[in-house]
Structures are given as structure tokens and as C-alpha cells.
Symmetry: C2
Subunit: 363 residues, 2 copies
């Protein structure tokens, strides 16, 4: 399919979808409050609104919980803009899961009944019972979704999520240092490594010692998004369905969790943008291969570098890159339309959405 | 289709479904606390657990929020037993919507962010803003579901719901007295009429005068279930989808709301059990015909009178009769299977579920 590239040619051929459902999991980790870690929100006070505002934007093209569309401090818009455009263009149905968002969105959302994640520098991210609850609720939902749909695409919105991903991967013995992605072109690897080092020291100092299960790793170092996304994916896979983890390096933590839980990874795909797969400051493919040789990575070229809008060009210049399942939603829009929608057509539609939602709205 | 009867032969022919989705809306009205109004719960203290326990039962075949399966005081089981069996037998996917349940279930549920309904004798059931919120959230969800599925079946669990239905119908100028159904063979019509009379007097005494819109009627006399179910149905219909309101006389209030909102009723069905349509103490068909000549009523004969289990025979003797979308779920199981599932096959499976969930569990 034009504009979709993949790590495995056979996998792309076998990858078809007629009845995809897109699930956006919104969440929160207090780890995002560490200064310099994320730009997913105009400032620290606004970060808690980012994920619910993303979810509202997917439904409405505008937000209720804040009076602006989520953006970086210098105005680069949320990738939800891409996701919304792709879902609307290809008529892909949308469900939102709340996995511990600090502020609840004004749209119908599926509750997993979990609290926001805590700052992993100071304390465990979640109680183990919460991790299990999120995972089990995810499995229940995933099993139902697998009956409805031939492909469940799971995106996420959680500021600070690449740091907790790095921490969980390291907790599970996977050296992901300098491999996780960032919403900034200057990837703050050193800061992320320092945060994760202190979290690991905290756990070791607590005398807990080596992490022995994926649930323990999430509890100590993770966030509610991972537990929930892993649960949904596990539920779909157990019902012989297909799942696309729509995101960048954060999704490799979910993959590691599923692998260590001995789930069959048949039917599992990772879907993202070329802004992640070609990012010189991170290594999604290297990360995924450390976990599984088999899981295909699909990526979509959105041609945003050719856009006339500076806010969209920025995606091709290393800003934002991915999030809210933007890459996966685009891949699925192209695939569901059997190629009638191309990356360029999508880009034109994204520009229109940008004009309506961003440019036409007074700031 | 064997065991399905209908008010309109042509409608049954046109009624086919391959990809149904079942939505169970759980809710609460403090009106149910009036003594003698409902037996949906072993006693007044337990009534608030009935709808979340029903939802948990649909997923798990047992309940978490209470340690028993919901039942009448003398042990007649919840109709969720029928619904669960039908959904499982025909592999119909399930989603639960929380529209103001007082206790939240331990399963993934879609939140509409509304509060439980108040006792209509004392005060308005809901603020008008809550009514609109529930309706609008319902429409958002319904539009997404209509993309996923060729038939959205909406069931409900709200103790006391026939009384608020009667009140809303009367508020809208439809004389539903002695026509609404009951979970008891001795339908407490006089008590219901007295409750509704006082609610109407309260509103008139407040100087509000005549109710001029369906939203006002729900606000004064209704409950969050109605607003939510009407919203979901409206969303599906607006996307040219098909909806089955799966329930007894409560669903006629939803129908009246949709009709007065000028929604097209093309593609709308009512689905219930023959225990409702043949009930001598209520008149579903008469109620529906007062609202619309066109909406077909489908009903399913579950042969429970032939069961060896007294708890199931009771359904054929005027107890419980319907609820949690039992009739609609059964109709859809039969239709989706193209008649391979019959009322008798369903009855046998319901008996097995009864043995596992009710008889094998210590009380």
C-alpha cells in the first residue's frame, strides 16, 4: 500500500482490515511533572489536561476541559489532529478508555476504575492490585471488541510516557537507554536516564530487589496506560483477533509485557509514523527486535514536510512525531480504503482540519 | 423465525442482523426506594446493587459488588441470566453503559458522567443539564456504534423504572395508567398511579405548569436511563443504523421521547419477551400504538413455563418477565444464528446457566 512501509513484506500483504475499531487510552503519570521531560502540554499546570483534551478533540474537533487544543509551548498541535482526520476520512469508529486520567473528558469514555500513576522517582507508580485491575478490565474489553472488529487499533495519550516505558523496559532487563523517542527534536535522554536510575535505586533501596514479573515492573516503574493497553491487546489476541499497538517506543514496553506474560504475539502489529521509525535520536526497531523477532512494524509517511503549515511541517522536523495513535490511525485509514486514501490525501485533509481547529480559533 | 412473533409480519422479514452489539444501560432512581414499588432486589438496602450486579453478572456469571446474584425477595433470579446465556450462545458482543448507577460495577463500563436519579415524589429527577448531557453522550456513542454494527440492542437495568416511565408518559400527555408492566404478578398500579399523581402535583404546585419538551419531562419525572437510551438510539438512527429497544413498557417512554424530538423512527424496533406482550396486567402494544403506528414490536417465547426449575418457571407465571434486555438479546441470538438457536435451545442453555450460577452457589 502506497505510503506504508514495513519491517516485513509478507506481514504487510497479510495485513488487511475491513472493520477496524480505534481505541484511544488516556492516562496520567505524575512522572510527567518532572521539569524538562515532556512538551505534551503548554506548561506543567496544563499537562493534566492533555490526555482528556486529546480525547475530546477526537470526538469534537475542539476541547471542553480546556479552551485550547493541546499543543507544545510554542504552538505545535497535538497529533490527535492527525488521528481525528484519519478516523473521519475512513469512517473508523472510535472508543475512548480512561485509564487513570487526572481530569475526566466530557465525552463517553470506558472506565477501568484506576487512579493516575504516581511519580516513579518518589514511590511505586501503582499498587499491584491496580495494575491487575487495569489489565483484567482491558482483557474483558478486548475480548468483546474482538467479536466486533477484525482489527483493534490502540493509541495512547499520556504525557511523560516514554520515561515510564524506559523504566519498565530496564526493570525487565531490556537496556532501552538512548532508544526511546521524545516529543522534542533534542531528545532529553540524559534526564530520562537519571530519572529511571533514581527509580531503580529507590526500588533496590527498598530491598525489593530484582523485578520478577511484568506486573511488578509496571507497579514499580510504569503507568496505568501500559497495564490497560497490554490488557486490551491480550484480550483481543486470546480471542484470536488482530491488534495494532499504535504508537512509538512506548508501545515496546507493552510488547515486552505481553511477551513476558507468555501471550501469543500472532496477530500483533506495531503501527506508527515514519517520523518515529526514521528518528535518528531513538530506535524503535532495535527495541522491538530485542523483545521479539516476529512482530511487524508498519509505518506511514504523512508527507507533512510538504505541508504549507509550519505547525504541521514541525512533525517532519522531529517535533511531536507521534501520539494518540496518529500513525496507526493513518495506516488503518489507508488500508481500510484499499489505498484510495493515500498519505498525500491524508495530508491535505489534515491541513483542512488544521485550518478549522487551530488557525480559525482565536488564542 | 421460530419463537419470534411480531406486530408486523413485513418488519420481521426485514429484520436481520449479522453483527449485533448489545448495550446494557445501568442506572438508578431513588423513586425505587418507595416501599412496594419494585422487587428488583431482595430488599430496599440491596436495590442500589441490583443494576451494577446485573452488569457484573453479564460479564462474569457472578457478581463482585454483592455476594449473591440479584433476585426477588423469594429468590427469583435476575433476567440477566437469560441475557447472558443468549449473548454467549450467539457470540453477541457486550458493552455496559453507566448512566448514574449508585454503585459502580467491577467491569469496564462506559461512563456518561451523570448522577443517580432523584425520587420524583420529592424533587425533580435530574437537572435539565444532566438530561442533556446523558442524551448528548448517548448520541456520541450511538454514532460510533452505528459504524461498528448493523443492529444496536439496548437493554436496561434500573429498579423502579416502570414508575418513572409512567410519570414521563403522563407528563407528555400519554395516559399510560394501568398499562405499564411490573416485576410482580400483582401489578401495583394504584401505588404507581399515586406516586405519579404526587409527582405531577409537585411540579404543578411549583408553578412550572405544563411540560413543554421531552427533556423537561425527563428532568421532572424521569430517570438517567431514559435520557441515555434515547440518546444512544438517536445517535444510531441519525447515522442510518438500526436499533432495538430491548425491554418492556419502560421502553415506550424512550419511544415517546424520540418521537417528540422529531427523530425518524425508521430502523427502530422494540424487542421483548412474550411474558410482557401477553401480560394481562399491562399493555405494551397499546402504549406503543398511542405513540407510533409504525414501530414493530418483536417478542420471543422462551418456553420457560416448560422448565424443570421453579425459579425459571416463575417468569412464565408473571414474575420478573423481562429486564436487562433479556427478550431483545434472545431475539437477536435467534436471528443472528438464522434460527439454529431456537427458544427451546435457549431455554436449555438458560437452565444450565441457572444450575451453574444459582443452584451451585451457596446462599
Amino acid at each position: 500500500m502506497l505510503d506504508i512501509t514495513a519491517s516485513d513484506r509478507l506481514a504487510v500483504k497479510s495485513f488487511a482490515t475491513k472493520t477496524p475499531v480505534f481505541v484511544c487510552v488516556i492516562s496520567y503519570t505524575a512522572t510527567s511533572e518532572i521539569s524538562g521531560l515532556t512538551v505534551a502540554g503548554a506548561n506543567a499546570e496544563l499537562v493534566k489536561y492533555t490526555s482528556p483534551a486529546d480525547a475530546e478533540f477526537l470526538y469534537h474537533g475542539c476541547c471542553s476541559c480546556i479552551n485550547v487544543v493541546p499543543a507544545t509551548p510554542d504552538g505545535k498541535p497535538t497529533p490527535a489532529l492527525i488521528t481525528r482526520t484519519a478516523l473521519q476520512l475512513a469512517r473508523v469508529p472510535l472508543l475512548v478508555v480512561d485509564a487513570g486520567a487526572k481530569v475526566k473528558p466530557s465525552i463517553p469514555y470506558i472506565s477501568f476504575g484506576v487512579e493516575p500513576g504516581r511519580n516513579i522517582i518518589n514511590e511505586n507508580a501503582m499498587d499491584i492490585s491496580s495494575v491487575k485491575r487495569a489489565f483484567e478490565h482491558g482483557e474483558l474489553l478486548g475480548k468483546q471488541l474482538a467479536i466486533m472488529s477484525d482489527l483493534i487499533v490502540i493509541g495512547e495519550s499520556i504525557p511523560g510516557g516514554t520515561t515510564t516505558a524506559l523504566a519498565v523496559l530496564r526493570g525487565l532487563g531490556i537496556d532501552a537507554r538512548f532508544k526511546v523517542s521524545s516529543s522534542m527534536p533534542e531528545n532529553p535522554h540524559n534526564l530520562k536516564n537519571r530519572v529511571v536510575d533514581s527509580a531503580i535505586e529507590r526500588v533496590t533501596a527498598d530491598g525489593i530487589g530484582r523485578i520478577s514479573s511484568p506486573f511488578e515492573a509496571i507497579s514499580a516503574f510504569g503507568d496505568p496506560m501500559m497495564a490497560s493497553v497490554a490488557g486490551i491487546a491480550s484480550g483481543v489476541l486470546s480471542a484470536s483477533g488482530k491488534v495494532m499497538l499504535a504508537g512509538g517506543t512506548q508501545m515496546s514496553a507493552v510488547l515486552a509485557i505481553l511477551k513476558l506474560l507468555d501471550r501469543s504475539l500472532n496477530g500483533l502489529y506495531i503501527g506508527t509514523t515514519t517520523y518515529v521509525t526514521k528518528d535518528p535520536s531513538s530506535d524503535l526497531s532495535g527495541l522491538v527486535r530485542m523483545i521479539s523477532e516476529r512482530v511487524p512494524i508498519l509505518s506511514c509517511d504523512l508527507h507533512l514536510g510538504e505541508s504549507s503549515k509550519p505547525g504541521l511541517q514541525a512533525f517532519a522536523k522531529g517535533f511531536v512525531k507521534e501520539g494518540v495513535g496518529a500513525g496507526g490511525a493513518s495506516i488503518v485509514a489507508i488500508t481500510k480504503s484499499r489505498g484510495k486514501i493515500t498519505g498525500k490525501k491524508l495530508m491535505n485533509a489534515i491541513e483542512k482540519e488544521y485550518e478549522i481547529s487551530i488557525e480559525a480559533v482565536p488564542h
